[in-house]
Amino acid sequence: MGGIWVVGEVDGAGDLTKLSCEAATAARLLGDAAKLDVRGVVVAAEPDAAAANMTAFLPVVIAVRAPEALERPAAAVVAARVAALAGAAAEPPAYVVVGATLDGRDLAGALAALLGVGILVGATGLAWADAADGLPAGPRVEMQPFGGRVVTTSAFTGERGIILLRPNMVAAEPLAAPGRVEAAATQAIVDPAPVRVVERVVTQSTGPAIEDARVIVAGGRGVGGPDGFSGLADLAGLLGGAVGATRAAVDAGWVDYAIQIGQTGKTVKPAVYLAFGVSGAIQHKVGMQTSEIIVAVNRDADAPIGEFADLFVVADLAAVVPALASALRARAG
């Protein structure tokens, strides 16, 4: 049987993303249990740095230089190169693990079409199981659809598939001794349907990406305006976390859509979710209800968030936010 491949994602600075480190770890643990070979694949215009990063987690990482990636969206380029690599390999991979980012989803969809295999999206846990109940030995993938209202376990009916892994589900664990990079050459792919990147616009972004954050300090309608969010940013800084927001705050123009959490925004699972002025309506709840610890501060004692938070403080956030910042500074100082 073919082994497990992990396709690494490269960030703006050319390094491997945190989620890809987690995906590599998850795949390695799976490979250990399955007794399957695991290798990493990094495709980029300049893959070397990220491939080197990935060797901390996997014994073999294949670096593919793809100059066309400079002018094309990454996913289509990576999918084409990975499919070519799989086609040229002595044994094509049985399973491919990809981080569930915007690019990761595009990659998984394209790769599924190129390889003709199925996809399990949004894995929150990965394990290996022997053949049973008419299913072959293979990965058993835990997911939490419907905004986390139900926890499911799924498998592939055949012996191949693509798995998209959600951030923060598996802790990245380096190997005792790092692996090695192998360069691989694949043919430059003639793209039948090219998309050209005309411009890359970078807007502000400091601190961890929200899906990767261990702590999220989120604000809702009750924050009242962009000034209130700077208080939350202060708290986030003190806790080493990221600022998040509900749809109401985004629609009001106080914060960017990139930090919107909920049904039409991001789904997060931080260790700590601190919610200020967030009502906890279903559209937001589905994006954060699997957080390990939820603390909510709201003036409204009947806010729905009070029903599923671990700690619910009925108080005016305008006073509590600075008080909490002081208390945290006092602890540190």
């Binding site: 989803r105 999206v121 598939g161 208390a327």
Partner: protein, 258 residues
């Protein structure tokens, strides 16, 4: 402009249930997937400005027409529904093949697809469909601007946005940032009654003997269970700000979060 919008009827968010057979319970009242409404709105704005028509394309059981009627009431021109008993329990890979095959029977300049679906779909179908059709795929759009023979898209990225261009026909994936979907006007609702919903079987889109549908699902659900209970909520009331802050810090320390 001839635009096809891929729409998926899903259970009302919050009402989703799995049936005894492990499949999504389709008897729960259905709505159009929330994310699809944004791309439908974008399509309607494009034809408001440039003329043309909007065809809805969906793969769903034949009886589920209410959400399609609502989308027609918003202003779409017609709908094509691929419906076949064999498709019950189809996986994302089957879905992509079916939609691609259906698109090959239609004429279009642009195919619009929403981000992920509220019933557990992963937002991968758009990429798969575009790849099968050998069409450019411009995803996660916050702005869509067609021009002569092509389309320009502002695509969300981890650090801001990228500006992409491709020739038509193309597949574009959208996001919430495309703008709030309009309410169907009452006139639209009454007009929707006379708009066409064409039903197509697998045979009619050329997939009669292909391995698609529930019997060929590439994935299987083994188990579904409610999540571990969170436990009860500790409530703090009537505390002054300093005491409230202290209660939060103590709680986080107690739970070893800080």
């Amino acid at each position: 402009m001839r635009i096809v919008v891929l729409v998926k009827p899903v259970p009302d968010p919050g009402e989703e249930r799995l049936g005894a057979d492990g499949r999504l319970d389709r008897s729960v009242s259905a709505v159009i997937n929330g994310n699809d409404e944004y791309v439908l709105e974008a399509a309607l704005q494009l034809i408001d400005a440039n003329g043309g028509d909007v065809t809805l394309l969906s793969m769903a059981p034949a009886g589920i027409t209410d959400p399609i009627r609502k989308a027609l009431a918003m202003g779409a021109t017609r709908a094509v529904l691929v419906s076949d008993p064999a498709l019950a329990g189809a996986c994302a890979w089957s879905t992509a093949q079916v939609l691609a095959a259906a698109l090959q029977t239609l004429e279009y300049d642009l195919v619009l697809v929403g981000a992920d679906t509220s019933d557990g779909g992963g937002g991968v179908v758009g990429a798969a469909v575009a790849t099968l059709l050998h069409r450019p795929y411009l995803s996660h759009a916050r702005k869509i601007e067609p021009f002569e023979g092509g389309v320009r898209v502002e695509r969300l990225s981890a650090s801001g946005h990228d500006v992409l261009e491709a020739a038509l026909p193309a597949v574009v994936g959208g996001t919430q940032l495309l703008g709030e979907p309009r309410y169907p006007t009452l006139r639209g609702i009454m007009g929707a009654r006379s708009k066409e919903i064409a039903i197509r079987t697998l045979a009619e889109i050329g997939l009669a003997d292909r391995a698609v549908g529930g019997a060929h699902a590439t994935t299987a659900l083994l188990d579904a269970r409610p999540p571990a209970s969170r436990g009860s909520t500790r409530v703090v009331r009537g505390a002054d700000p300093a005491a409230a802050a202290a209660a939060i810090v103590d709680f986080l320390v107690e739970r070893r979060a800080i």
